[in-house]
Amino acid sequence: MKELLRDRGFQAAVLVSFLAMALGFPFYQAKIPLNPGSFLEFYQTALEAQTMLFLIPVAAVLSPGAAYVRESSSGFLKLYLTRTSRMEYIRTKTWRIYAGGFLPFFLAGTGGFLLCFFFLYPLELKGSISWKEIRSVLEILLRISFTGGILAEFSGIFAVVFRNYYMAYGLPFVIYYMMIILKERYLPKLYAWYPGEWVVCQEDWGTDQMGIWIFFLVISLAVMLIHSLILYRRLREI
């Protein structure tokens, strides 16, 4: 974890996520005194903004995606494998890549939430905020983070398959937008594969919208499994 937090790509990803939120923040709507619960509304608008939707695939792959390309081309991997087992390397790498896509959004989002709370909540008129509203915005943040984790795993998969930086950084972005294009231009009812819907979760996802969490869990496990298997096959060649 320390290694991940020290990674410049990871820090850049946190910064990009935070900037995406800041760019989508509705500053122009803030008129003092604010209505009760305004800080939550503003925060939600920032999370659901188009800038965030656009920058998710950019920030998600910045951190660990192409680590395999770097390690294998520099010869570090051969040296590293003499000090650890293959299975240990695969386990660490798979989790680290997922965390590298998940955590930038989660950390930037949590930071943004706290900033909104400390700077905007004192400017609000006295009133009550329900836990349901807080839970709702935190669920949006969690869904964005899961999307980031999945895209990071895609980046890891492409890095192992193609052993090329262009593919590792570019293809997750392309896949992400192919899903948007598919829904917006050809199949308007295919909301389950629409990244915008993953963030806002407004369509039918079953009782209490549980379906989307199962969807994220299944896809996350699937991409991690695929990544591990491909990595295992590549490491056998070394």
Partner: protein, 297 residues
């Protein structure tokens, strides 16, 4: 004859592995996504009027705008990062052919890749909007509605009554395509020249500067910088129409009988002169070019 055979062989060698190159694949995929973003305006217009479009109209409306041309051509910088194409085979080629023929092969390679890229852009724009298009070579009801309303001008869509009366969609898109190719070629030739003269970073810098130059000479941008009103922009529009290469590539910035702007033919001639000048400089630079690295990409 021998020269033509050698140039063809060098061009074919340049294309070896072209479609398997990850950078090329990613550039074409990015271009697909860019076309999706840019064609959003045409789809919005069709949705707004709830009517269909001619298959080439999305391309005409998308790439009749300077910003779209600029963004589309920027991807060419990524595509031509490895110019001139050097490989371990290059020394053998240079033993058997003149350097000038080798450079001519580079020019042909750039030309063919640029034409391929622009044809791909045309095809992709059509595919992305195919849900609302028809193939016949006749202007659509949407185009007519745009031409007779202020919406076309507000959206910088080159759909005017004059254009519709004087040309067909196929002819109009062909003219836009030629302008796009000419602009992209000047950008690529400039990159090749700077790559040979000062290296890769200088080539990228030159490509970006060329794009920035065109962007800053856009009449809308200049109006904002100079804080001029629309009626005061007449002279500025006329000057930039002749000076800026990006405006030469923009279909709407040509003479339709209202302004003293260049015609499509004049713009093509200016691009041709520019290309010949860049080619001459490249041949001159080639004499001092140090073939130090043959490892390629």
């Amino acid at each position: 004859m021998e020269g033509a055979r050698q140039v063809t062989a060098a061009v074919r060698w340049n294309f070896l592995g072209f479609f398997k190159n990850p950078r090329v694949i990613i550039t074409f995929l990015f271009s697909f996504i860019l076309c999706f973003f840019l064609s959003d305006r045409a789809m919005m217009v069709a949705d707004y009027y709830d009517s269909s479009m001619q298959a080439l109209e999305p391309f005409i409306w998308t790439f009749g705008d300077a910003d779209s041309i600029l963004l589309c051509s920027l991807l060419l910088i990524l595509l031509f990062l490895d110019l001139p194409k050097l490989s371990p085979f290059t020394p053998y080629m240079l033993f058997r052919m003149k350097k000038s023929r080798w450079l001519l092969a580079q020019f042909f390679y750039i030309f063919l890749v640029t034409v391929l890229y622009m044809a791909y852009v045309l095809l992709v724009t059509g595919i992305l909007c195919m849900q609302k298009t028809y193939p016949g070579n006749i202007w659509s009801k949407t185009a007519a509605l745009l031409a007779y309303s202020g919406m076309g001008r507000d959206l910088s869509v080159p759909s005017t009554v004059k254009v519709m009366e004087s040309t067909t969609p196929v002819s109009c898109s062909f003219q836009i395509m030629v302008l796009l190719i000419c602009y992209a070629l000047t950008l690529s030739f400039l990159m090749l020249l700077f790559q040979m003269k000062s290296g890769r970073k200088a080539a990228i810098g030159a490509g970006l500067f060329y794009s920035l130059f065109g962007f800053l000479l856009n009449p809308d941008i200049l109006a904002k910088i100079l804080r001029k009103e629309e009626y005061e922009m007449f002279l500025v529009r006329r000057i930039t129409g002749w000076v800026s290469p990006l405006n030469h590539a923009t279909y709407g910035m040509h003479d339709f009988g209202y302004d003293v702007l260049p015609s499509i033919g004049q713009s093509c001639m200016i691009f041709l002169v520019l290309l010949l000048f860049l080619s001459f400089l490249s041949f001159y630079t080639l004499k001092k070019y140090n073939f130090s690295s043959f490892t390629g990409d």
